[in-house]
Symmetry: C2
Subunit: 415 residues, 2 copies
């Protein structure tokens, strides 16, 4: 058992490190999350050794990840998903297939067994909608066609990545790939997601009605938090990632009439808990693992693959918009951010890969999140901020504008 003083001191150090890291990153025009993870690596065992990742810290980190994905889900409306245009769908799907296949082929070639190779490939897949949306917002170009396609595709991408993550997680149990097993796992994941999403919408509408009754003053916030913990536990129990459950809870809560109140409240909770996730993530990176030539070689290869596979996959999907627009879309989809990091944490926790692979995937997620924003800014510079678009009707509901964030930083800017 740890003493109260030890625990509170660790929480204090982690929280302050997160804020200092975020602040430095923002001043250097990097996403805040980059600074938080770097802060974790600095205060963790591999540099200063101020904080060791104990069970209570792990739990806070897990809760942080769950809340983060809940918030991402909260930006995703089932109704909007149905209205997503062809371009966004094409970009989203092709932006999952290319990185996954290229990642899996490389990992298999690099000597990983097929289930592990698929897990590693899953980290290549997801796009961090938050980082790109924030860049688009800061550039004032959220109304451009490219921005809408990126945001729409990122949503599809996230869902496919979640599904894929569930499948590859469940696959780690058995050593060999078994098509029937794969289909069963897939069916289970799809059934869970579809059933929860459909019934959840109905449930949330009923709850909204209850809320208006003065006898039953349950708040949307407490209902949503209970739902999030429940679906996260259920997803974990089914062998899916807990964050998939949290993401579904977010999509369900997005149907609530009190969605905007909820977003403000969740942002406050997140600004307390999400930093623990990123700092603990960073503290788990053993920097010495990246020191050798093999690790640096692997990092260069993995990062190159991650960038190229997204550029090709998403760029091809967006080719109908013109070449420059396709390039913008491709670059916008490059950041892996927190989703890649979550996959890496799950892989480490499940014993799927070693410290070096974990360190490489975290570093790749960071590097893609760091290099994409300046390139995107350069490509967008001087372009008109708005543009009449044939996709308007299809995707205009998809733009979360100010609320795309999954983090407390947005708060800071606003206040």
């Amino acid at each position: 058992m740890h003493t109260t003083t030890d625990i509170l001191l660790a929480l204090f150090i982690v929280y302050v490190a997160a804020q200092v890291g975020a602040e430095i990153a923002q001043r250097l025009r990097f996403p805040a999350v980059v600074g938080e993870i770097a802060a974790g690596a600095v205060i963790g065992p591999s540099v200063l050794g101020w904080v060791h990742v104990s069970e209570p810290l792990e739990m806070l980190s897990e809760i942080g990840a769950v809340l983060l994905l809940f918030a991402v889900g909260l930006e995703t409306r089932v109704g909007d998903l149905k209205r997503v245009g062809k371009a966004a769908t094409l970009v989203g799907v092709s932006g999952v297939i290319f990185p996954f296949v290229m990642g899996a082929l490389w990992a298999r070639y690099a000597g990983f067994e097929t289930p592990k190779a698929m897990f590693i490939a899953a980290a290549f897949v997801a796009t961090s909608a938050g980082i790109t949306a924030r860049v688009l917002q800061e550039m004032g170009v959220l109304n451009r066609t490219e921005s809408r396609v990126i945001l729409g595709a990122a949503v599809i991408d996230d869902i496919l990545a979640m599904l894929l993550l569930g499948v590859v997680t469940a696959l780690q149990g058995g050593g060999s790939v078994n098509v029937v097993g794969l289909l069963l796992v897939l069916a289970q994941a799809v059934a869970f997601i579809v059933v929860i999403t459909l019934f959840g919408t109905t449930f949330m509408r009923k709850s909204s009605m209850l809320l208006e009754s003065p006898i039953n003053p349950l708040s949307p916030l407490t209902l949503s938090l209970a739902l999030t913990l429940g679906l996260a536990a259920a997803a974990a129990h089914l062998g899916l990632a807990a964050i998939i459950g949290a993401f579904l809870a977010g999509m369900i809560a997005a149907e609530s009439q009190q969605r905007h109140t909820l977003e403000r409240q969740i942002q406050a909770i997140m600004s307390f808990l999400v930093p623990f996730f990123f700092v603990v993530t960073g503290a788990k990176v053993d920097l010495s693992q990246l020191a050798g030539l093999p690790a640096l070689g692997m990092l260069a290869m993995v990062t190159l693959l991650a960038v190229v596979s997204k550029l090709i996959g998403c760029g091809l999907g967006a080719l109908s918009l013109g070449r420059k627009s396709a390039l913008i879309v491709g670059v916008g989809m490059v950041p892996r951010g927190e989703v890649g990091i979550i996959v890496a944490s799950l892989g480490l926790a499940a014993g799927v890969f070693t410290g070096m692979t974990y360190a490489v995937i975290i570093a790749m997620s960071l590097i893609t999140s760091i290099i994409a924003p300046p390139v995107l800014s350069a490509l967008l510079a001087g372009m008109p901020k708005e543009e009449a678009s044939p996709l308007d009707e299809e995707t205009s509901h998809l733009i979360p504008v100010e609320e795309t964030g999954h983090h407390g930083q947005r708060h800071r800017r606003k206040e």
Copy 2:
């Protein structure tokens, strides 16, 4: 180590139990906190056994208590304290002395050693401002003189109780009472509180200025949370209760210009984390400890003492307001609520007393919180809602009205 599924499931059960308990309590017109603690006792080992208090749950509970006391501090302005009228001061001080002396004498007589007897007596002292304020608010009588005196006295009471708690906690180290040691501990506690409060105010004003600079977009929320964790850790390190540090952090944050934004944000965070504190508190009560005749006798005695000592202490202090008003003030100060419970948790954690004493103090805190509201309602029924008062100027800054709460429930009513 616990698996992710186990931890998330435990969090889900605890959180849902808290909401169900709070809802049932509110429908029965009891404070929500009573329902949350009862829910903890039901799902805990002594009844259903659905949840066991593991280290991660303990930590969440500790964080919940820290946030709760931060919020109580946030309602307390140093400037307002200076303007508190004579009546409130008299009621506050006399309402601390009577219960502490009577409690300590009884506990000493009941066979506890002096340091332990003083610790038990500390649980007799504090008033739960939240419960009474909520009753006054629901009755629409917050502008009456009695209400203002109660709220002002509760603030003084809380500070004296915090100080006392720090002293008795530090005293548990040595077995015997040593006047020099006692004075040193007192001096240390007072110095910590005074220095932190004075410098804190200045610090917060500087931070507020920084906030307006666009280069440094640190938010009041993250600064306050960091301050809370830091002062809680510092207080714990000094041998004081961690919650004293959190309370001071709240008083400092109350000086911030963004106080109201902060209150809204903290309420959202609290509605997620504070229930863990109350449910875990309830889960630690071993109901079988209350089964025997000695325990029930002790409970009856302790509850009687707790009620009578506050009625006499506060009633005497408020006698200048007239006899009926003095009675109202006395009854309003009876609920021990969460502060008594926090003292009991600290006593159990420090090994100061056994399961039976813990169960008795928790039960006493609950019973006083349950019996006072209906009596207070009955005494106030039919009285005019407002009243010109000679204390207006002195105490009008002290009334937190809607914000007195330390809990998510208020939220629910509003939405």
